[in-house]
Symmetry: C2
Subunit: 239 residues, 2 copies
Amino acid sequence: MQQVTPGVSLTAQVTDMLRAAITSGEMTPGEHYSAIGLAERLGVSRTPVREALQLLEKEGIVRIEKNRGVRVLQISLDEIVQIFQIRILLEPPAAARAAEMVTKHELAHFRELHGRILDAAAADDGPGTLQADKEFHLFLMGLAGNPRLTALDGELRNLVLAQGLVTIPSIRSSQDLADDRRGILDALERQDPLAASAAVREHVTRTARLLISGVCAKTPGLSSDAYLAKLDQLTKLRT
Amino acid sequence: MQQVTPGVSLTAQVTDMLRAAITSGEMTPGEHYSAIGLAERLGVSRTPVREALQLLEKEGIVRIEKNRGVRVLQISLDEIVQIFQIRILLEPPAAARAAEMVTKHELAHFRELHGRILDAAAADDGPGTLQADKEFHLFLMGLAGNPRLTALDGELRNLVLAQGLVTIPSIRSSQDLADDRRGILDALERQDPLAASAAVREHVTRTARLLISGVCAKTPGLSSDAYLAKLDQLTKLRT
DNA sequence: TCAGGATGAGTAGCATGCAACAGGTTACTC
DNA sequence: GAGTAACCTGTTGCATGCTACTCATCCTGA
């Protein structure tokens, strides 16, 4: 965990650093930490750490336990499903709108981002792939013209990423995800809202399925069927 | 603004009290306040107030300006539209799921809540109506079995309520909203997901239209057409 | 041996002190 | 009189002291 740089709000810096520490696995879910200890590790006082922890608690990443310390939340499979249920509600319509609105210039940027994902993946650069993927999604959501939606969705994605569950189970799955993105890009190029929506939905659903199966495989006695079924619970209707 | 009660976390209490003060119009959007002043009014020290303000800032209700104080954010019409765009994505599917899942017991509770809304409205009890309406919505969303979705949607609703824009423009509109709720209740009674979804969508859309028209009417030179059109932008497609 | 209470270590929650900073006002210089 | 610099007021940001609380351990007494 690095040290702080003066000039910027400490609370904000500490929030980011703690979030990064959790995402990177430096702080592990389920573990207990104390604000005092974290403050010492970061070389700041307890106050900004405490405030950062409260913000992270509001995000749902940690839980503050009175007089006991703070616990990095182990997100449950149930919650993963909840998050993806929401993402499946939000992202496909946003992608459809994006496909309607996208300009030539923005398409070029999409191609570049897509290239960066492929390059990073080819170079086996996990964090790089993740970062490029993040930017791809953010840019896509941004085109829907609803900044609040973009921010919201980004937070939901962060929540899952914070778990360090991002280890793609297999080459095959990784290839599938890449194909999905290709499909999204194609739909955007054709400015086809329905196709974009479907492609994004497919992509998000696949990501969710991979995560769910992965967690279930690691946890004996846990069947993925119920969770997989729940995924489409809110979206199975054509309302 | 009432005083605090011991035993519960001050920060949490202060957060709620400030939110309530904003919603009730006691603190007005656009106005400047200081943490010191608020702390004195509430009879607590600056720390819990400061922490509460940071949480409210994360919710998007206020902005903390360094060394200048805090400003209750005047939400723009654009942002109102954004919020309702999201709500229209989230609430109808949740209502559909709720209609599938609702039990007799829960239906009875719905009827009671609905009755409370009507009673409060008949008694011209604005805050009471609001509170009952809030509970009605929360309970409805809760039935969808996705607590995170419920919380998220509640926050979006709060954001609009925080503006004190809740003055229903006319008796007629108020009657329309009541009819909407009746429709939602009916759909639930029939356990008809499609009808519930449509009713909720109608209700949310109507609320949004009322707000948009209201704000435009109060702001000379502002046409509501563009904003109204944007409302359905993300949902016009059957994806 | 075991139950139960005392105790101590560690924690968060809150109050408060202090410094840095922004903005407006005043006073001073030219 | 105009422009600028000093200052004064009010504010947040952060550090730190103190209190109340939780939990685990140990000690006591039967």
